[in-house]
């Protein structure tokens, strides 16, 4: 039983491929249920952001077969062509998968390293999976550990400091087109988490003339009021494009909101003033052909990668510290995971020893001390339990922490010495459910 990750990200797949592999918010829960119904997959969670789509699953038995099953569900069932994703999809398992998950949560694998949004996105993905009932004890515990590691990295390193945010990148790039960005009119389309993060950095950059447009006007009003900006209805998009100088798109729309024909209509109405569009949505909100129009400058999430490379160079030391912390956390999760493997054996040994102690105590009490009062009887029972626990402690400890010894040999030896046969071992599933309870 181990963690498996199947997915693609900004390093392995271009934006077009990530777009087609992305899973819409409403489709996540049904897909997770379908995944957990496949053979060998017991738990699953799905993370779908603009830079990555990753499936985290706990698989039992044959890992290769389980990964193949995940491929079938993620590609074939969604009518995606396997050959299109041949070089883009990666499948990780075991320690590699664990290490990857922790790096993702700690924002070490992000395009803009150290950006804070990814942790929230992972938490949201886990919550969605919990709501769908596809996260159990194991995956839940692994994610908890990932969140702890992410928090530790953020607290103990400077990875999160001076991060290049989308808003600041947009501001830097816009300065190459416009003289004074504070005099520019900015249109923020969308009012989700990315839009909120962008709004924060726009506000920090001192940009005051901002319109917020969203499909739900209420959310746009809420976001706009927080910064003293104006909310506008999405139906006014064309007029807003005429007015704005910088447009930041971050909606969850499945189809482009701005296509070439709309953009061409807008250009003369703008008197050919330059229009800078930053499309941080996946799937993209702006058709790629808009970039061919002379006075429109379109940047998408992949185009921001070069900026993040500069950012990476500046914080190499913090990244090295963060990587070391992540490795420590991986070791501790693995130790816990190993402990889970020996749990059935520990339970069987303990159960057998408790059974012997109880039988011997009952026999002695019945034969030699039948008139003992209840308080003394309880005290003797406690003493017997305590003796069993203390006698078994070295064995239990050695099994939990093999310290370089072969765990399989240790298990076999312990079973032999304590007279436990394989038939005494509880089934793995039942041990899991015991722990969960």
């Amino acid at each position: 039983m181990q963690l498996v990750i199947l997915g693609l990200n900004h390093k392995t797949a271009p934006l077009e491929r990530r777009e087609s592999f992305a899973v819409a918010k409403d489709d996540v829960a049904p897909l997770l249920s379908e995944l957990c119904a496949t053979q060998g997959v017991s738990e699953a969670a799905l993370l779908s952001t603009c830079n990555r789509v990753e499936l985290y699953a706990i698989v039992e038995g044959n890992v290769t077969a389980a990964i193949e099953q995940l491929h079938v569900t993620m590609l074939d069932h969604r009518e995606l062509n396997r050959s299109d994703f041949a070089g883009s999809l990666y499948a990780l398992d075991g320690t590699e998968a664990l290490h990857h998950l922790l790096r993702v949560a700690a924002s070490l694998d992000s395009m803009v390293m150290g950006e804070p949004q990814i942790l929230g996105q992972v938490k949201e993905a886990v919550q969605t999976a919990r709501d769908a009932g596809t996260v159990g004890m194991r995956l839940g515990r692994i994610f908890d550990a990932a969140f702890t590691a992410a928090k530790s990295v953020r607290t103990h390193t400077e990875i999160g400091q001076a991060v290049v945010s989308i808003g600041s990148v947009a501001a830097d790039l816009a300065a190459r087109i416009f003289d004074d960005l504070t005099r520019c009119r900015v249109l923020l389309v969308g009012a989700g988490k990315m839009a909120e993060a962008t709004a924060r950095s726009l506000s920090a950059a001192g940009i005051e003339r901002v319109y917020v447009a969203n499909r739900s006007l209420d959310r746009a009003v809420t976001l706009a009021q927080r910064y003293g900006w104006r909310a506008r209805n999405m139906s006014e998009l064309e007029e807003l494009l005429v007015e704005a100088d910088v447009v930041i798109m971050s909606t969850g729309a499945r189809r482009p909101l701005i296509d070439a024909s709309l953009a061409r209509r807008v250009v003369p109405a703008r008197k050919y003033r330059p229009l800078f569009i930053v499309d941080i949505a996946v799937p993209r909100n702006v058709d790629a052909s808009v970039s061919d129009i002379d006075t429109i400058y379109l940047y998408n999430v992949d185009d921001l990668e070069s900026v993040s490379q500069v950012n990476l160079e500046n914080r190499k030391e913090a990244a090295a510290q963060a990587e070391a912390l992540v490795k420590e956390h991986v070791v501790s999760i693995e130790a816990w995971s190993e402990g889970l493997k020996v749990q059935p054996t520990l339970a069987a040994i303990r159960s057998r020893a408790d059974g012997i102690a109880r039988a011997e105590l009952d026999k002695t009490l019945a034969r030699s001390l039948p008139d003992l009062d209840e308080a003394t009887r309880t005290a003797l029972e406690k003493m017997a339990g305590s003796m069993v626990a203390k006698l078994l402690h070295p064995t239990m400890d050695a099994l939990r922490n093999p310290n370089g010894r072969d765990p399989e040999t240790l298990l076999d030896t312990a079973l032999l010495l304590h007279g436990v046969t394989p038939s005494d071992l509880p089934a793995e599933r039942s041990s899991d459910s015991e722990e969960t309870s």
Binding site: R176, D179, Y272, R273, P274, T295, Y299, V307
Partner: protein, 259 residues
């Protein structure tokens, strides 16, 4: 021989410039490549013409135009070498268009020789104002041309998502270029008008290449200035039109100077 070589080079450069401008406007790589080949061929023709002139005992070009040819070739080779390492789409159009103006002026000079000086021609007020305002307009067009080139360079970098090495904001470059054109165009117009008046006063109705180039450049400048100040027209087409108009002006000024 020199006249033929220079004319061939000027024609090749004209086609190369058209291909370069078209490639620049439509982001057509094959047209730009064809433009580069033709420019290289033209440079070859100009080098042969230069060698022929220098080795000829009775050259067709006087010293001044010869120096102009050699300097132009030297600058072209340096820009070409720098352009290869920078791989900028702006280098080709700049080199071919400027070289075209020079080659055209030299070809005309080589073919027609020295013009007879009109006996009645005197340096009156009209002539002084004509020459002064035309040159002043031309001097303002030079930085406008440089700004147009910088605009195209910066725009290319932004479109290609290249960071760093910027030359200022696009809007700033454009604004400065339009200001210069707004000042230079009226002066240039006055210069051309007075030139026409002066020629009428001389009773000459001859249409010379410099007249055609001046009229052509005035039309292009008039068109871009009108479109910009009427409808806000700007961007890459406006910058390319600015470059084209400047090359015509340069050709005509060189012809006047070499007269």
């Amino acid at each position: 021989m020199t006249g033929t070589l220079l004319t061939s080079a000027a024609v090749c450069l004209g086609v190369a410039t058209a291909l370069h401008f078209s490639g620049l406007l439509r982001a057509h790589a094959r047209r730009s490549a064809a433009g580069r080949v033709l420019t290289a061929l033209s440079v070859g023709l100009l080098i042969v013409a230069g060698v022929f002139e220098l080795s000829n005992e009775s050259p067709m070009l006087p010293m001044g135009p010869q120096v102009l040819l050699l300097v132009s070739l030297g600058v072209t080779l340096v820009i070409g070498a720098v352009g290869r390492t920078r791989s900028s789409a702006v280098v080709g159009p700049v080199v071919s268009s400027l070289l075209m103006a020079v080659a055209f002026a030299l070809a005309v000079k080589a073919l027609r020789g020295d013009l007879p000086t009109s006996e009645s021609a005197e340096l009156g007020t009209i002539t002084v104002v004509h020459i002064g305002s035309t040159l002043l307009g031309f001097l303002l067009f030079i930085p406008a041309f440089v700004l147009a080139v910088l605009f195209l360079h910066q725009q290319e970098r932004i479109k290609r998502k290249l960071l760093g090495g910027g030359v200022g904001s696009l809007l700033g470059l454009e604004r400065q270029a339009w200001r210069l054109l707004a000042c230079g165009f009226p002066l240039y117009s006055i210069g051309i008008l007075l030139g026409f008046v002066w020629q009428e006063s001389q009773g000459s109705d001859a249409v010379r290449p410099e007249h055609v180039l001046s009229a052509l450049s005035w039309c292009v400048y008039a068109m871009i200035t009108y479109r910009h100040f009427r409808s806000g027209w700007r961007g890459k087409p406006a910058a390319v039109a600015n470059m084209a108009a400047f090359c015509c002006t340069l050709g005509s000024v060189l012809l006047y100077v070499m007269r």
